[in-house]
Symmetry: C3
Subunit: 278 residues, 3 copies
């Protein structure tokens, strides 16, 4: 059974390891928020590299210790890039984070997200609507809701809990549902991480940046610790940033600064609740 204490100590270790090792977590991600993703990855002590070409995806799957895949703004050549990268990730047993942004929009996105099922993403991160929609697409759980409106969620985190559990039990990895209180589950333990700020919804890309930072922690920690560490980090830094700045652009600036400044101990002592399945 994973205890609160276990989590606190492992969060602290993950944060310190990344700051010491400066690990690279390459991304195939959308063009809108690349800058934010990269700067968030750098702020926590990691390193970033964004790519578009199939052979570069294969190379990264071989060289990197974890990869971030976000299907936000697909272009035609992503069909080959993502497919070949997925096969290379599997072949090299490289863990990866999937961000099923805007699931439900368009044929290529549907095809790629269906394909992902076979490859069992190590971490799946999305908002409640996306998690519900992915569990449905993979025929794992049929929940009400999951109508995605572009990149926004129309559902609460609680509504997505069963879908998240079903996805995690299927992949054997971890699923993180972002929202007011964030839910992280490996299909067994369920963690609710508190904090953050409503201002996250007033800036673009905080979900993408969170996924990218999860990939950074995945280079040094288990899926559940990586997903949880990144989430706790964002919640702590978000809370502090919102205290300093009640407006979106200043909030975003302070948020990146806080990611850089915050002590591992402070994140490790942040507020969360752990539930273990019987």
């Amino acid at each position: 059974m994973m205890t609160e204490k276990h989590f606190r100590s492992n969060i602290q270790i993950a944060i310190e390891k990344v700051r010491a090792e400066n690990p690279m977590a390459p991304s195939i991600t959308n063009t809108v928020t690349q800058d934010f993703v990269a700067n968030a990855q750098l702020a926590v002590g990691g390193s970033a590299a964004m790519i578009y070409l199939p052979d570069e995806g294969e190379l990264m799957a071989k060289l990197a210790r974890a990869v971030y895949i976000n299907v936000g703004t697909l272009m035609p050549f992503y069909a080959e890039t993502i497919s070949r990268t997925l096969r290379a990730l599997e072949k090299n047993k490289t863990p990866f984070v999937l961000d099923p942004v805007a699931i439900g929009m368009g044929n290529l996105r549907a095809e790629l997200l269906l394909q992902m099922k076979t490859f069992k993403p190590t971490i799946i991160r999305g908002n409640a609507s996306e998690i519900i929609a992915l569990a449905k697409l993979w025929n794992l759980h049929e929940e009400e809701g999951g109508e995605v409106r572009g990149v926004d969620s129309t559902e609460t985190v609680d509504k997505a809990a069963h879908s998240a559990l079903a996805l995690a039990q299927y992949t054997g990895g971890t699923v993180a549902v972002s929202g007011e209180n964030d839910l992280i589950t490996n299909g067994n333990v369920m963690i609710y991480s508190l904090g953050g700020s409503k201002l996250f919804s007033k800036i673009t890309g905080s979900g993408c940046a969170l996924g990218g930072v999860m990939a950074v922690y995945l280079t040094v920690a288990s899926p559940i610790i990586a997903a949880f560490t990144a989430t706790a980090m964002f919640n702590c830094a978000g809370t502090r940033a919102a205290e300093k700045a009640p407006t979106p652009a200043s909030f975003k600036l302070n948020f990146i600064d806080e990611l850089y400044k915050i002590s591992a101990a402070d994140v490790a002592s942040s507020e969360f609740a752990v539930f273990n399945a019987e």
Copy 2:
């Protein structure tokens, strides 16, 4: 006849409606300023989604209440994406904002902008050079000037007034010319919106962000009100940001924050001049 009072009350309504309804205005736009466009759209209370693929353009044309098309950084597949999106916009009677960025540069841009003529954009937003060049390209008005230097204007707003009128009379929509004093016309009434800051020319993407925010207001208001509300909003927020920060990066940050903070009443009472054609 549209009076000053009419405009003031409708600006206020448009701003409040967007803040209440959080409408999404998807974009096909350039890669350079996507982040700024999206964050400006979010700051005024809207929601953003950027896309590249033809079937996603068609879907957005069907689902969204207004779309933003900016031809800034064309890639090869834009030929199909923009063509198919235009047809879907027409079929679904969805209004859209056209930003003819860098008109005159390259074959694909020329082809797409020529094609646009048939589809009569609901709002056309550009700098003076772009508006003059578009009226010429569409054989509506032949004005001196309109040589576009990349993304910069080499002409003043006044020089583009006849081109703007000709375009608006042809489309039956609204044309907005950005510059020191901004001109907005529906081919009948002409509005000059004052304010803003010269610092807008020292940051990249303020024109794109303005076009994107016009699309947000177009989800809840008529073309002329939408174009005018966005312009007045930018002028008020720009003036306030420049008072707080005389340097470009701080100005941009304050500008986004002001878009978020500024009261609808303050924007509605901003300085402008209305002229009705006989």
Copy 3:
């Protein structure tokens, strides 16, 4: 022999000319840092335009006084765009800056960078690993090291000095190696520019922005003056920004503001060391 005094006076002239003439330096560059590149170019007084299509590259090679090419995030169509732009640059004798980002990653990047050898880039700017790897790829100098880790350098500037000299002697242009102390050489004189900040490694794109700003100065100055002016500018502005802000996002904001504010005289009197070959 180029003296310190010679450099100080030419730096000042270059900075003032750009601020007076607002020259455009178009880019073919990566999608991650386009916004930063463009805003840095604007902050120093230049103008920006980013492009993807082959005929636009050809047009820019003809119209612009200098072009920036950064191979950071290649997409399939870059093969044709970069090849045709290189031929047009040569035909029009337009100088250009090459940024061999992530050299060693993938086939297209290798092909394009090999192709560049024939076209002798006017300025080559990279970190130490990239410069070592490029000299190796072009069979000009075989140095230990040059294993590139994504976009990060794993070598010091000093280790790349011989590679930089070999490249500059081959191209007849200038080579700039970014690092703790920056090295600029035209194959004869070697300049070390001091200052800057370690925070540059905690934000994404400072190298790209530096390359873009070199292209801006290349519109008004010789290759060595252009490369050196941009470097000295970044070092001065970086030092000042770091004094104001010890965290990455605030540092980046202050850095752009300082690029805009700093006086030409202050940059011209910055710390550097010049060595002339016998």
